[in-house]
């Protein structure tokens, strides 16, 4: 990148979003649906108030003991005959996963931000694998060759009319923009892929260390297929997802769905502890009954330990990725997926900077007004605006300064105001 590229490409991206009525329509429909569903769920679940505070404590404890929990998790997974790996960075993660998949394979995936973070699809496709996203939103943007714009609803910016266009191209025949019909098309198209896939790749919402259990929360049922139908299941997830015990995980699981989509509980929570097995014939254990014969858990660092090491940013690791703060953010409502890089909204600025580097997100940091609304709506009360201010300080030291901000700074130091005005003409007023 050239010296100002960090700025110009984002400015263009913001502009494209602001001028794109199609995206703005999709986004505002989603915001309206989300906010009313969440308000309803929260008013009917007063017990969430205590629970979210407990979850905050669980996360604080877990992050404090993150390294230890990684070790316990890996031991537990191995004990139940799964395989466990630790990936220090994105490259290591790609190598591990690519090695496990091989080449020329049919791969089905359920939505994984961690997968996007390390660029898993690109790595697999390079090795001539065919990769299918199976979460409807991810499927849509994969077909459209776009990038996700929300962590829970990646295609939130694509309204039904546009989905119909995309599916018409896929099937080579006209498709009507009715939402149920569009869902049906994806179901029919992907069903065969699930059954014939060689490998299924998922992320995880929580991992409980002591039992080595992977939790996957979803509503569509695609993650069940992905983690169950193919003979090999690879789960790639960040080390911050680990909590000590099953009960800790259950606590978190109760807080996540109402804040994520405004439901009491998501339709499906898969708990996976080791590969599929049976001992029904002569009590002899055989792996790979109806579910996968192999289970591989890849635990990713990629900046998470540095986040934990810095007091100023540790809180970002408490995020349970409900996505609520994005829909509630006034800036996200206008520039959507451009407000961040691989993660979005205020919290996404921190996550993007630590996982994929400063350069791609530095300009978006200056789009945050630090208004603090995200902290207000966050179930864990994560102080994102404070972290964004700290991140900005760090970026300034590295040279990511908006020319306009530098001008203002100079004007303040020289003239006492940000506008570059000479004030000697101002009279002294007295009352």
């Amino acid at each position: 990148m050239g010296s100002d590229d960090w700025l110009t490409f984002k400015r263009d991206e913001f502009k494209r979003w602001m001028e794109d009525d199609r995206r703005r329509t999709g986004l505002s429909r989603a915001v309206a649906a989300y906010t009313s569903a969440k308000a309803n769920a929260l008013s009917r679940l007063p017990e969430l108030e205590d629970m979210r505070r407990e979850v905050r404590k669980i996360k604080e404890q877990s992050i404090q003991h993150m390294d230890e929990l990684v070790k316990i998790t890996m031991d537990s997974v191995r004990e139940v005959k799964g395989e466990a790996y630790f990936a220090r960075d994105a490259e290591e993660a790609r190598e591990i996963v690519s090695g496990l998949v091989g080449s020329g394979k049919l791969v089905v995936k359920s939505k994984s931000l961690t997968g996007d973070e390390v660029g898993i699809n690109e790595a697999l496709e390079e090795r001539e694998n065919r990769v299918y996203e199976t979460d409807l939103g991810e499927f849509i943007i994969q077909l459209r060759k776009e990038k996700p714009t929300h962590i829970i609803n990646p295609s939130v910016h694509v309204p039904r009319e546009e989905v119909a266009k995309t599916f018409s191209e896929l099937l080579g025949k006209p498709v009507s923009p009715e939402i149920p019909a569009l869902v049906g098309i994806a179901r029919d198209y992907l069903r065969e892929k699930f059954c014939n896939a060689d490998v299924g790749i998922t992320g995880a919402n929580v991992v409980s260390a002591k039992t080595g259990t992977i939790f996957i929360v979803e509503n569509e049922g695609n993650a069940r297929f992905v983690s169950n139908a193919p003979p090999k299941h690879i789960c790639l997830t960040g080390i911050e997802k680990i909590v000590p015990t099953l009960s800790d995980a259950f606590r978190l699981l109760q807080v996540l769905p109402p804040y994520a989509t405004g439901v009491f509980m998501s339709a499906y929570v898969s708990m996976i502890t080791g590969p599929s097995k049976t001992a029904d014939i002569e009590k002899t254990i055989v792996y790979g009954a109806h579910g996968p014969k192999e289970l591989h858990l890849v635990l990713l660092d990629n900046g998470r330990r540095s986040m934990a090491d810095e007091e100023a940013f540790r809180e970002a690791l408490y995020c349970i990725r409900c996505g609520g703060c994005m829909y509630e953010c006034p800036v996200y409502r206008v520039i959507g997926g451009a407000f961040g890089n691989n993660y979005f909204g205020g919290i996404g600025l921190i996550w993007s900077a630590f996982t994929t580097g400063d350069e791609k997100v530095a300009a978006a940091v200056d789009a945050c007004t630090k208004c603090g609304r995200c902290k207000e709506v966050c179930p864990l009360e994560i102080d994102t605006p404070r972290m964004v201010e700290r991140l900005k300080q760090r970026l300034v030291k590295k040279g990511f300064v908006q020319p306009k901000h530098e001008e203002i700074m100079k004007s303040i130091l020289e003239k006492g105001n940000p506008f570059g005005e000479d004030e000697r003409a101002n009279r002294l007023s007295r009352g």
Partner: protein, 244 residues
């Protein structure tokens, strides 16, 4: 001096939204409040620098500001701008270890003297709504004082924006966004005014020069925007309905 308060205009109402500082001073005079300003040497509180990551410059600016205020002998500072208020009241203690004067936002200061305003404000026939500035509300917990003052205007019916108080939507101009991405700031303000103001409300009351400036700029023709002291002064002058 010392028996006067220091009215700290802040850069925005000193140089851009002058009608806010002019109205505030006129209101103070009418209320018999003794005040002074620092005039041309007021300078900057450092808020913008803090928000844009320029910590060293912010500290330097804050230090010299504390110096100017306290060497002039002021012990009471009243600000128009919630950003100045927050910075001096809650961030100077962190970056400078404190400041030797008390700082309040004009809404807090006025509410304590509302008996003076009583029976002075002319009656209007207006539906208005109040926008909570982030620095004043969420960051400093001041929600009710401005509302109390607005409700003192006889005949003014106060409505709430759909999201208000701790959930209020930012106008989009804070944090250095307005200078880095003016279009984005305007778009945020426009969206907020469009989605949040109840039908039939024609007047948006702000309590922050930055919000005021941004809403005015983004929503001209959409809604009339007025800052709190401007509203009170207009009501006192009984020219609110005619004011533009």
């Amino acid at each position: 001096m010392p028996d006067s308060i220091l009215y700290w205009k802040g850069c925005m109402s000193r140089l851009r939204t002058k009608s806010i500082s002019d109205s505030t001073m006129e209101l103070f005079r009418r209320m018999g409040i003794r005040f002074e300003t620092l005039g041309e040497s007021e300078g900057c509180c450092g808020s913008v620098l803090l928000r844009t990551g320029q910590l060293e410059a912010a500290k330097k600016t804050a230090e010299s500001t504390v110096d100017r205020i306290s060497s002039a002998g002021f012990t009471e500072v009243v600000t128009s701008c919630p950003g100045c208020f927050r910075t001096m009241a809650s961030e100077y203690p962190v970056i400078l270890g404190g400041a030797p004067f008390r700082v309040r936002h004009v809404s807090q200061f006025l509410v304590e003297r509302k008996s003076i305003l009583k029976d002075r404000l002319g009656s209007v026939d207006l539906k208005a709504c109040y926008h909570d500035p982030c620095h004043l509300g969420r960051h400093m917990g001041v929600y009710e004082e401005p509302r109390e003052l607005i409700r003192m205007v006889p005949g003014l019916e106060l409505f709430e924006m759909r999201d208000n108080r701790s959930k209020a939507l930012c106008c989009g101009s804070g944090g250095g966004v307005r200078s880095a991405y003016p279009e984005l700031s305007r778009e945020v303000a426009k969206t907020a005014a469009r989605d949040q103001v109840p039908a039939g409300v024609k007047l948006l009351v702000t309590a922050c020069p930055f919000c005021n400036y941004n809403f005015k700029d983004a929503c001209s023709g959409q809604i009339r925007v007025i800052d709190l002291p401007e509203l009170l002064l207009s009501a006192w002058r009984a020219d609110l309905n005619g004011e533009r």
